[in-house]
Symmetry: C2
Subunit: 143 residues, 2 copies
């Protein structure tokens, strides 16, 4: 298996664990270091495996079901680092209600002696275009 | 200069060009390939240098001034790939009005014979926490 194929397989394993709400499978994919970072769409960065693990546990507990499809936009691998950029389409059921979300992700993998592990995940929302007088959330005007 | 220092220098050069609204300096930092990707906060991905360049040109034309500070959250380099994750604080003046924005960025660099070049930039907004009945934009409920 080439590096490229191994990285895409690790990436697929991540999404399978995500869709199946399988924290154990997800844990096996993440690098457990203090430098691992996870950014859930629209949320501040979480650094270190402990915080990241807790956040996924909460997401899985609060979500009845997840269906997702992805579209790879770009990818690269060299040495012990690889990245994959994807468009994600999620259909979730949260507290009995269906929620469709489209997001973008940059997943960065690090090669370890055992396998490629997820060391950084940056998810983000795609916001609707807003007229200048309706700032997207997160922006504040001073005058 | 170590690889790490060279990547951080390239990253700094990117932010200097951004702050100075200097498209020429910015162009020198980006890798000009079809696989280069730029995601402006909340916007869909732009692929290929032509689209990326046009977007920065528009941003610079529509922005009177930019002041920014960054805080590095994580970074890694191996082989010909490097990544830097940062918290960005931007104070912009757009059409005479001051707008403060906080965003997160994952910048991926590729080593070329000349220098490290930006091949992927993923910027995203930090949204305020919303109660379940006020979905963040980009989410749609089916029932």
């Amino acid at each position: 298996m080439s590096d490229n194929q191994a990285v895409l397989a690790a990436n697929q394993a991540f999404y399978r664990a995500f869709e199946q709400k399988n924290l154990e499978a997800l844990s096996a994919i993440w690098l457990k270091g203090d430098n691992s970072v996870c950014i859930h769409p629209g949320r501040p960065p979480l650094k270190g495996w402990e915080r990241i693990s807790t956040s996924w546990d909460e997401i899985f507990k609060n979500t009845d079901s997840i269906q997702l499809t992805t579209e790879t936009i770009a990818a690269g691998v060299s040495g012990n680092i690889a990245y994959v950029v994807l468009l994600e389409k999620l259909s979730q059921v949260i507290q009995g209600r269906s929620v469709d979300v489209q997001s973008i992700a940059t997943n960065v993998f690090a090669r370890t002696p055992e396998a490629w592990r997820l060391v950084h995940r940056h998810g983000s929302p795609i916001l609707p275009m807003m007229p200048p007088n309706q700032q997207p959330p997160g922006m504040s005007r001073r005058n």
